[in-house]
Structure formats: C-alpha cells, structure tokens
Symmetry: C2
Subunit: 264 residues, 2 copies
Amino acid sequence: MEQERNRLILVTNDDGIQAKGLKTLIDIVRPLGEIFVIAPEESQSGMSHAITVKTPIRVKKIKQDGNVLINSCNGTPVDCIKLALNKFLNRHPDLILSGINHGSNASASILYSGTMAAAIEGCVNGIPSIGFSLLDYSPEAEFNGVVKYAEQIILRTLEYGMPQGTCLNVNFPANHSGEIRGVRICRQTKGMWIEEFDQRIDPQNREYYWLTGDFINLEPDAVDTDEWALQNNYISVVPVHVDLTSYGAMDHLKKWQFDGEGKK
Amino acid sequence: MEQERNRLILVTNDDGIQAKGLKTLIDIVRPLGEIFVIAPEESQSGMSHAITVKTPIRVKKIKQDGNVLINSCNGTPVDCIKLALNKFLNRHPDLILSGINHGSNASASILYSGTMAAAIEGCVNGIPSIGFSLLDYSPEAEFNGVVKYAEQIILRTLEYGMPQGTCLNVNFPANHSGEIRGVRICRQTKGMWIEEFDQRIDPQNREYYWLTGDFINLEPDAVDTDEWALQNNYISVVPVHVDLTSYGAMDHLKKWQFDGEGKK
C-alpha cells in the first residue's frame, strides 16, 4: 500500500495499551498515514460507553515511532476518543479504529463493549469508525489469519466512505476454527447473557459476587445474523447506528393517548 | 390506585440509593405491587452499560418497608439489573423502572446514561422497561410536577404492554421551566457533546484533566425530536430499541464486494 502522509487515523481499544490486538491493528494501518494511538493503560473490558467524571484523567506519551504516536490514558475507551478529538488532534481524523478486541462483540455483547463504544463515539462525531474483534479471549490470540481482511475493510471504508450516522461492528472467527470463508454483511443477533454470579465468602466472612455468564442465541438458525456468520466461519460486518429510536414502535405508543400528545 | 400484591416491579437508578429521584419513583410505584429496589451505593452517572468484571460485587439489604424491599450494590446500574434478575428475584418482574435521574438523558446523552442502560438491560431480557429523567441536575430537584405523568406512563405500559425489543426513554422538563404542556412521542435528536477538558496541574506538578462539555443540538428546529419537546415544555417519550443494526446501511455495504460476501 502506498504511504499517504496527510491521512490521519485515530486508533484505540479496550484491552489496554499492551494488548496484542492493538499492536496488530497499528501494524495494519502504519502504511496508511499519520497514526495517533491513545489507549487505556489497563484493560477496560465491559466498560461500554462509560466516561470518567469522578476522577482526574491522565495521559502519558509512550513513544513516537516514525509516523505512529502512541499515548496511554487512565480512562475508558470513550474518554480516549473524546481526549483525542477535543484536546490532542488539531483536525478531525479520517478514520477511527478500535481493537482488535480479544473476544467477541457480536450480538448483545455490543452493548457492554468498550471497543464498540469507542467506534460509536467516533460515529457520533461524524467520523467513519470501525470496531474490530476476534473470537478469542486469550492474550496470546493469533491474529495472522485476519490481517488481510481487516486491511480490506479499512481500505473499502476509506474508498467508499461510511453511511452517515453509521459505524461498523466487525467480528472475526477465531483462528483455530478453520479457514475463513469470507465476509458477510449481517444484522445483530437477538440474544442475551444469562448470568450466574459466582457467590463467595471473603476472609472477613462477607458475601461477594463475581459476574460470570453464558450467551444465549435466541435465533440460532437465522442466516442473516452475525452469530450465524461467525459460527460458519465467516467474518461478520454489522452496520451500527447511533440513533436508538425504535421508529416501528412509535405508532404503538401513539395509541396510548397521553395528555397533550400530538399538540404542536 | 388499587394495590395489586402479585405484581412485581424492579426499580434502580444511577444516582445512587440516596437520590431524591429514586425515592420519588419508589413512592409512585408503592401502591402497584411488590417492589424490589436495588440501586448503586454511590452515584454511577456516566457509567453507561458498564458491568463490573474486575472487582467483587457486594450487595447490602437496606430495609424492608412494607411491600418495598430496598438493597444497595457497589456495582453499576446494569450490575443491579443482572443481580436482581439472576440472583435475587425468583420470577421475572412485570416492569423495570430506572430513575428518576437528576439530569437529562435526551438525545446523545442516552449513550452515556446508566439510567437508560438499566432500562435497556431489562429490555434485552424481554421485560417492559422505562428510564425516567428530569432536566435538573440538582440533588434537591423538585419532582412534584412530574409525578402524575410518570404514574400515567407506568400505568399505560402495564395496560398496553411494550412492543418487543423496545424500552422507553422518558425525559421531563425541569420544574422551573413552567407548566408542562403534555407528553410527546419523539425520536432521538441528532446531537453530540463538545468536550472541553479542564486541564490542571496537581501538587506533584503532574498534568490531569476533568471532563466537561456542552451539548450541541444538530437539528434544533426538528419538532419531532426529544430536545424540541423538552425545550417547549413537553415530556419526551422516545421508544428505544436494543437492535443497533442500521438496516438502511446494509445495501450500501453490500456494494463493497468483499471476498465471499453473500455466499451461503
């Protein structure tokens, strides 16, 4: 790929600055322009769209490595995007990338995902944004098999642009599940997590809980969903929007005849 | 209202167990059935859909007050809902209510809102859920003027049911803005927060930031939006869905011709 110095790409993740998935993503975009990285100091998994309002936020410059400037931050992935856009970058980036996450963000997992929250925050700011995740939670997860697909999705986004108010939730099958069969444009699977809450007693005899759970796919046979694609060794690409309005439900609600409803 | 003992209502918030808005909401639903309250020990504003995975979660029974059982939790609003549904309640509640939040959750603020995340988590679990917010951040905010409207929305939801995959984002104008003109069914306003990041130096001469910002309404004249309704002294009711798929963008993406795309 030809180096284009004037392009600016912002990169973050939620597994933290040391994560292998982040390093993989940086290597993918290194030839594509100026790269500004700002990622959490430590893992921020499950932080969703949280912002830090009760404690001070600190940013550390880690290193300038050619055209790649790397910073860490003690905040959340969304804090990272907000800091980059409002404090550190003197112009809007052409693209925001988040990941590559160690672990799935398909189906309902998008709601809890710091990786996808960073992409959604980019989208709210009108910037083409993509969250990438691999279905392997291991810190040593193998990303080699997915690099060329991530590259392709990034280049297509730069070429075609992103529909307004939309970002992408891209999930890759785990390396050990066999050869990838290609890319599928999908919808978010209806599903949920059933939590188990591992209940324990601490040395002071006080009860506490750890959150654990299993994902339940509510439509395992639906071939247009991200879970189906991933289980069949496709890469899932779900276009995600930031307008949460359920337009289909508005007519239902209008039958409720609230006081003053409909008046101008 | 007639007391119906067999109905079960789950109540939480993100401002914490001591908040006046939570107490107001409990008083509203007290005549409606068995009430199970589990709310954060302290304010969890801006925590969005975060879940606690790195630290133990603890729950404290505060008091049984007639048909109202009140618990606090050191986790997030979504932790509260997950704990209630998976650990403490022996059946699904008929309704989940979150709030009344001190401060707006209209437009893009829904993304950062712990109040709305609790309602969305309820919706993921197939339970009719409503998040309530008042446009007044003060801990001493006055809720008297909105009680009858909150009651009406709750009773309508119990009567008519909630469309599948949908919950409600209800915002009330602040008490000091004058008489409420009624309820409007709205869509989420296109808008964003422009952050300012108050930059300071600590006693050890290290730089740090506080997140501050201003909301920008990108469509101030759109009369079908929640921001317009609130600015014109209406209560805004936005139906919110948990399927984030941008169906409109799927056709655009299908033109990108990825490897293997469309294959079955």
